[in-house]
Each structure stands twice: as structure tokens, then as C-alpha cells.
């Protein structure tokens, strides 16, 4: 790829950052060029982001309807899945699934809650209530 063909598409997924791309200059030398984005890359990053956001939105509804505990929503909101949450907390997946039930979650010990909070970068207080995201474009 010639340096003049390095895409400069100002991709929203770069959030005004630039990435280094190696390309051929007019003297035939390969060198680093800063790129403001490529539509192709933006499309696939957005696709992944949308998928994560959809999961979080669905989880949010589930919690609102009283089917799941806030923990369930926060897992998705933090772009995690059950696998990663299990690895981050050291808890078995099936025990985490139990904590997704609102009635179980209400009885959970502070010690256990603390492990979740630590793994998820939140406080115990944060975890207990569903955050209000209606005004955010989630």
C-alpha cells in the first residue's frame, strides 16, 4: 500500500486517535504513517460494540422486570461474559448464575459481594442497585 492510499477516514471508533500503519512512500521505502481510521475497521468494531450494547440493554430490561439481579446487568455493562466473570472472581460459573437470581442476590454476603465489587471496579453499594441509564445512549 502506498502512503497516499493509507485510509484517513476519521473513524468514530478511533475517538480522534491515530494508529500507526506501515506503507510504501514515493521513494519506495516502507515507513510509518498515522491513520485517522479506516471505514472497514470501523464497521467491524462498531458491529462488536453494538453486540455488546445490545446484550447490556437486554440485561437491563431483565433486571428492570425483576427477573435478574443487578449483577447480571453489570456483567454485560462491563463487556464481560460469564467465563470472564468467573475467572475474575474465582467463583464457579454455576454459583454466579445463582447470584443472578434476585432472591439469592438479596441474601448474598458482603464478603462475596466484595469480591464481585473488586473484580468489577465497583463498590458494594454500586452493585446492589441498578444504575439509571435511561438518559444515556446505551
Amino acid at each position: 500500500m502506498n502512503i497516499n492510499n493509507v485510509p484517513q477516514d476519521n473513524s468514530s471508533t478511533y475517538a480522534k486517535n491515530k494508529k500507526a500503519i506501515y506503507a510504501l512512500d514515493d521513494d519506495g521505502k516502507v515507513k510509518v504513517v498515522s491513520s485517522s481510521g479506516w471505514n472497514v475497521e470501523e464497521a467491524v468494531t462498531k458491529q462488536a460494540l453494538n453486540d455488546l450494547e445490545n446484550s447490556a440493554r437486554e440485561a437491563y430490561r431483565e433486571v428492570k422486570n425483576g427477573n435478574k439481579s443487578p449483577l447480571y446487568y453489570y456483567m454485560f455493562a462491563l463487556r464481560m461474559d460469564l467465563q470472564l466473570l468467573a475467572e475474575s472472581t474465582g467463583f464457579f460459573k454455576w454459583t454466579i448464575k445463582q447470584d443472578f437470581k434476585p432472591e439469592n442476590f438479596a441474601k448474598i454476603s458482603d464478603k462475596r459481594l466484595n469480591v464481585y465489587a473488586d473484580a468489577m471496579g465497583k463498590t458494594i453499594g454500586d452493585l446492589k442497585v441498578l444504575e439509571d441509564v435511561e438518559n444515556e445512549c446505551k
Partner: protein, 334 residues
């Protein structure tokens, strides 16, 4: 060895970028592509049984940390690697090393680094950066994939260093303790080029090298029978691994072309290496055509032509084989 004099360089890839700027800081001037090429970092692997976020592992380069390991093996550079059993120990040790005036390589999770914009924050645990100074409660960081150096709150970096999950960093810190003088690069380069070409052409397992690319092409055909949403995510995932994850474009093929060109100069404008570099750039362009084709089909409302995408990948594979065969023709003159 003054940390304040550390020079940030914008690189394509985190691990080769960190290694290059760290070695430069201590007086060994190697470009990012040179580090990448010397360490045999170029590869291809498709591991359908290893899932990350529900998607198979597709790698265009060697395993994380392999550059840190290979640089020691190839150049006889001695690196010290330290991991920690607790956050406190890990943070104290980093502070201690900075106070000694060292610059320190750090492995971290991208997700927990606040200077990454939301759009780029995924749970990826093998991101590398250099911490070169500390000011009160902040670290000064040279993150190779950013244009300029950045600042990061102490607690946030510690959180990122101790993220758990696949490839968990365990607080990993690393820094060179001994760098030999007068390294003769030529035999090491010749050896690396041969090794990369051979492993791409001749790896016996079906998941790696050119066979891995063919295997991936086959898996694309199977998407026909899968749920459409999954099929599109899968295709998007391939392109993300190829372009999004600090690859210098086209799944590291362009960086490697730069390495081949730099090597050709060292070997008195060696024609075989020059030609290999040219071919590698063309391969990179092919990968990008493949990515473009996928992006179009993801956006399109029409049915996806999986056969056409799979065929395109086989075409890329065919082009790749030509480069590696060319590379094997290289005979070291001196």
C-alpha cells in the same frame, strides 16, 4: 539512563513497539519492524477450540510475550521479568524501579486503562506499555499504539495490571538488565527469515501457517448453515483480529514487509529480500481486499456469499505461499 529523557515512539504493535523503544532507550537501536521480524513474530493460527468472548482465536502473530522471550534468545539481551502475588507488592515494586531511574515494560488489560477511549476498551489482557516516570499519583506512560505519551492514575494502572482471565498479566513487569554490545545482526536475520518462511509453509498441524489459513477458509463455508447474526459476527471478528488489534495494517504483513526491506539494505541491497518485501506488501493489500469484502457483506441486507469470501481467502493464501518461497531463496552472502 535518565527516565526523563525517554523518547516516545508511535508504533503499530504494542509488544514490538515497547521492546523497540525500551532497547533504544538503553542504546540498542532497533526499529519496531526489526524487533518484530527478528523475533519470528509473523505467523498465522486459527484455533477454533480456544474461545475469546465466544469467538475462536485467530492470530496473525506469535503468542503474547513471545517477543519478550525471543529477543533474549536471539540477541542475548537479558531481561528481568517479575510477576506478583498481590496488587500492593506489584505497585510498590513498579514505584521502586521508577525511583531507580528505570523504565519498565508492563503487561495490562486494555479494558481497565482509562486513557483508552470507550470505543477501544475490550477485555484484552496482553497489552504492553512502558512506564517511564511517576508524578505524584500518576504514571507517565508511553503506550506504543498512541501518538503521544499519556498519563494514568496509579490505582487504574494497578487494576489493569492485575486483571484476571485468559492471558492474565499477574502484574508482569519487565526491563533489560544486560544488553550486549556489537551484536552482529546478519546471521540472526538470515536465520529468522528462513524460520518464519518454513513455519508458514511447512507446519505439520492444520491450524497454523498456510494450512491454518485454508482451515479458516473452510470454516467460512460452514457459516452458511449458521445463524445469520453469528455468521456476521464471526466474519467481523476475523477482520478485527486482522486490523483492529494494533497490527500496522493487514495482520502485521506490512510491518513484516518493512522488516524485509530493512534487511535487504543490511545485506547490500539483496535482490531476493527486496522482491520478498514487495511481494509481502502485495499480500498485505490482498488481506485488506479480503477485509473490505467482509465489511461490505456485513453491511449489506442481501444474503452473504460465503463461497466468494472463502475463495478470496484462499487467494490470499496462494499469494502468501509465493512470498515464503521467495524468502527461502535467500542465501546469506556474508
Amino acid at each position: 539512563m535518565n527516565a526523563n529523557k525517554f523518547e516516545h515512539t508511535h508504533s503499530a504493535h504494542c509488544e514490538s513497539g515497547v521492546m523497540s523503544s525500551m532497547l533504544k532507550h538503553y542504546g540498542l537501536n532497533l526499529s519496531e519492524p526489526m524487533v518484530f521480524g527478528l523475533c519470528n513474530a509473523l505467523t498465522f493460527a486459527y484455533l477454533p477450540f480456544v474461545k475469546i468472548g465466544g469467538m475462536p482465536l485467530i492470530a496473525y502473530r506469535s503468542l503474547p510475550k513471545s517477543i519478550i522471550k525471543n529477543i533474549q534468545k536471539k540477541l542475548k539481551v537479558k531481561m528481568k521479568l517479575e510477576t506478583f502475588s498481590s496488587k500492593e507488592k506489584g505497585q510498590n515494586r513498579l514505584d521502586e524501579l521508577l525511583e531507580q531511574g528505570k523504565i519498565v515494560g508492563v503487561q495490562s488489560s486494555v479494558y481497565w486503562l482509562p486513557y483508552f477511549p470507550q470505543e477501544m476498551r475490550f477485555h484484552f489482557n496482553a497489552h504492553n506499555l512502558v512506564v517511564f516516570a511517576k508524578e505524584e499519583n500518576e504514571y507517565l506512560i508511553s503506550d506504543p499504539v498512541f501518538e503521544n505519551s499519556v498519563r494514568c492514575d496509579k490505582a487504574a494502572l494497578t487494576k489493569a495490571r492485575f486483571a484476571k482471565g485468559i492471558m492474565a498479566p499477574k502484574g508482569l513487569l519487565y526491563y533489560p538488565v544486560d544488553i550486549p554490545k556489537n551484536i552482529n545482526l546478519k546471521p540472526i536475520i538470515a536465520n529468522s527469515i528462513k524460520k518464519t518462511a518454513k513455519s508458514m509453509l511447512k507446519t505439520p498441524v492444520p491450524i497454523a501457517g498456510l494450512k491454518g489459513i485454508k482451515y479458516l477458509a473452510k470454516s467460512i463455508l460452514k457459516l452458511e448453515k449458521k445463524d445469520k447474526r453469528y455468521a456476521k459476527l464471526y466474519l467481523g471478528h476475523i477482520v478485527r483480529m486482522q486490523e483492529e488489534i494494533g497490527t500496522g495494517g493487514a495482520g502485521f504483513r506490512y510491518i513484516y514487509a518493512s522488516f524485509l526491506q530493512e534487511s535487504s539494505v543490511l545485506f547490500d541491497d539483496d535482490e531476493v529480500l527486496k522482491e520478498s518485501s514487495k511481494l509481502m506488501l502485495e499480500v498485505g493489500d490482498k488481506w485488506r481486499e479480503f477485509a473490505l469484502m467482509i465489511a461490505k457483506s456485513i453491511k449489506s441486507k442481501n444474503d452473504i456469499n460465503f463461497k466468494a469470501i472463502s475463495d478470496k481467502l484462499l487467494e490470499v493464501c496462494e499469494e502468501e505461499s509465493k512470498v515464503y518461497k521467495k524468502m527461502l531463496e535467500f542465501k546469506r552472502s556474508s
